[in-house]
Symmetry: C2
Subunit: 111 residues, 2 copies
DNA sequence: GATTCATGAATAGACAGTCTTGATATAGAC
DNA sequence: GTCTATATCAAGACTGTCTATTCATGAATC
């Protein structure tokens, strides 16, 4: 019980499949793609990016953003791609295990 | 972003819909129902039970287990039932938001 | 033109909450 | 006696929140 940690990491990696992005844009992308459901606080996003970089799943480079501001642009590394696949399948397994418990069961119906 | 915390709580509440159980049995039930996918450490389960009791979602009573050992038996309170419904719908919303991000998107296909 | 304000972008630290690990306790079953 | 059932607690790791700070730019206002 703890595939829970790491969902944010997975979302970040997934978002970078679209192409390199800076942190601010990653947060916006996750927010928008989830239709406003997922809010990523910068206080959790930036540490997450640091984590991922440290592990080698993503790589960073300072560049200029669309708005002519300095921005650290992150891109997925090959190792990151592999990692993403792994996290994705663990997540799917976890979700379906939770679903098995949550769905109404026979036991409950005849009680 | 943090409906993550609380999944264990939800699973416990859900498990108690089957009827009152003691902690040890709750862990076993979750483990079994999830087909061995979800392992609940006692070090996280018991604090979780204490939390839930403190909030009034569950109530405890010392009784004898099937094996004639003293066991703290927990049952769902009415407030707990309400809470369960709420957590269930939040969880569903969260899972589908994550799914929206994870599924292959048009953007990615033509890149 | 100068000043003010909102926005884009990143960082850092204090704190809270959860989970893991590992140790300890007790009592009945074999 | 040892194994299983049942519960508790404390230390530590990790994530996430909240809040503040910094710096640059574009837009609005005077």
């Amino acid at each position: 019980m703890e595939p829970l940690y790491g969902v944010l990491d997975m979302l970040v990696l997934r978002t970078l499949l679209f192409g390199p992005l800076h942190g601010y844009a990653i947060a916006r992308a996750i927010h928008d793609t989830s239709r406003e459901t997922l809010h990523i606080e910068f206080g959790s996003l930036y540490p997450a990016l640091k984590r991922l970089e440290l592990k080698g799943w993503i790589a960073a480079k300072w560049e200029m953003s669309e708005h002519k501001r300095r921005a650290k642009v992150y891109r997925l590394t090959p190792a990151g791609r592999t990692r993403l696949r792994q996290e994705k399948s663990e997540w799917a397994e976890f979700v379906s295990a939770v679903a098995r418990i949550m769905k109404p069961a026979a036991r409950e119906i005849d009680s």
